[in-house]
């Protein structure tokens, strides 16, 4: 019930391609869905987040698509660049629960080849 399932575990994309990472959840109380980006040797940092009142949120080359009925959300990275190579974590939480209730996916290691 509390899990967030993330796929794929690793992803290799050519420069200029589209990277797509998918997450699925079961807990219908989840209503805040952030994505964190982690570069090697660094801690994760918030990249973009969405709430279920919208189906899509775009910030630059990064877009979250959200499907409430399917309980799925995904991160799309357009025109992927080598500098996007990092590990990406999706997460979910019920807003009322506070940040200690944040549940993370297991991460996707993205490699963008030049």
């Amino acid at each position: 019930q509390q899990q967030v399932k993330q796929s794929p575990q690793s992803l290799i994309v050519q420069k200029g391609g589209i990277s797509i990472i998918n997450c699925a959840y079961e807990n219908t109380a989840f209503d805040y869905f952030p994505w964190y980006q982690q570069f090697p040797g660094k801690g994760p940092a918030l990249l973009i987040a969405i709430r279920p009142d919208v189906s899509e949120k775009k910030e630059g080359r990064f877009t979250i698509s959200f499907n409430k009925s399917a309980k799925q959300f995904s991160l799309h990275i357009m025109d992927s660049q080598p500098g996007d190579s990092a590990t990406y974590f999706c997460a979910a939480t019920p807003t009322q629960g506070g940040s200690e209730k944040l549940v993370f996916g297991k991460g996707t290691k993205l490699t963008v080849n030049p």
Binding site: G43, P44, A45, T93, G98, S99, E100, L102, G105
Partner: protein, 113 residues
Amino acid sequence: DVKVTQSSRYLVKRTGEKVFLECVQDMDHENMFWYRQDPGLGLRLIYFSYDVKMKEKGDIPEGYSVSREKKERFSLILESASTNQTSMYLCASSSRASGNTIYFGEGSWLTVV
């Protein structure tokens, strides 16, 4: 910018040693967290604290304890380190005002031999 500082980036300890991992945040955040990160397992919450001297168990508290004597400082303690505690440890903080955004430190790599 929020800064979460983990003073020890790389440590090597022997089995049975007592280990202290220290974390300081400079944004007056109420909440502080310790996570463990392992390949293929993602981020797992060990303990969190929502106020000075307050602590709550996370998903994997066994073998760990924490201390929060000051608002800005949160320590993770391994009373008797074991090889299965070799991992990357991430400290994080958040404020009630910032909602659910968590700010992470750069991590402490612990190897127990």
